[in-house]
Symmetry: C2
Subunit: 148 residues, 2 copies
Amino acid sequence: MRPEERLLLSNQLCFPIYRCARRIIRAYAPLLRDLGLTYTQYIVMMVMWERHEIEEKELCSLLDLDSGTLSPLIRKLESRKLLSKHRLDSDGRVLVLETTDEGMALRKQALSVPVGMACAMKLESMDEALDLKRRVDKLSKALSESMG
Amino acid sequence: MRPEERLLLSNQLCFPIYRCARRIIRAYAPLLRDLGLTYTQYIVMMVMWERHEIEEKELCSLLDLDSGTLSPLIRKLESRKLLSKHRLDSDGRVLVLETTDEGMALRKQALSVPVGMACAMKLESMDEALDLKRRVDKLSKALSESMG
DNA sequence: TGTGATTTAATTGTATGCAATTTAATTTGC
DNA sequence: GCAAATTAAATTGCATACAATTAAATCACA
């Protein structure tokens, strides 16, 4: 391919992924509206439902988001009483997040969200989803490694 | 899969795509720094390099971004004199964007960007890229259709 | 043991995204 | 012809993302 052709929007791989990610977030919005969550808040709660207790540092690492993004978001979830915060006695730097009962209760309401998304995505089979996930993860890993 | 399992981060398809998109934008950042462009500004310029002249409405549609995002961004590119704006004589609502000479000159500098990204993505073959693109586009289209 | 380096969060500043609203121009129906 | 509906951008308000900086706590080690 000529260098100029590589600058055509139609020859991009990154743009479709970027567009798909935005469409995913848009598709989640109506499903999450009932829960009063945004997509980013939802994936944080997803971790909180699974782990009940987690250090902010590990949450940042799991979601690949930094404290600049998560600090204010955690404050909002705390003010909604979906989680609580405390510092480790043994190390005052470490912030521990804990899922509240109210936070766990929200999980029941969230059970319908994956169903709604599966419908919106119109995937033909579990294999199709797993294969796409594998390919995306491979690219994601390569990008992550090349960034140091 | 049990409903609860569908709420595990590790069982998500959407999260990896969302994470990949963010890593893509992060990987572009150092390559675009020399050009003084962000990723979103870069894809706008990509269209401007190809089309020279385009209505804002069509640009919104091509990039799947709305005027709330593009209006301020276009203002910035205009203030950098990479493009110019004028309204249609025949219809004062329509904003037409035109690539300036300075905007076209930036294209030369941008020729190395796709090379840098190809390197960061470590793709094994053109086929691998095309296949991923096709699968992502299929999901993207399904989401778009289910949104109306 | 004291101090410089390191680690963890929070904060700051800039740039998106996008829903909802507003503004201005045009088109439609009658 | 003209009021109502429609269309295209711009604006507003809110929620991320993220680089860079700051602040606080701990660690390393001479």
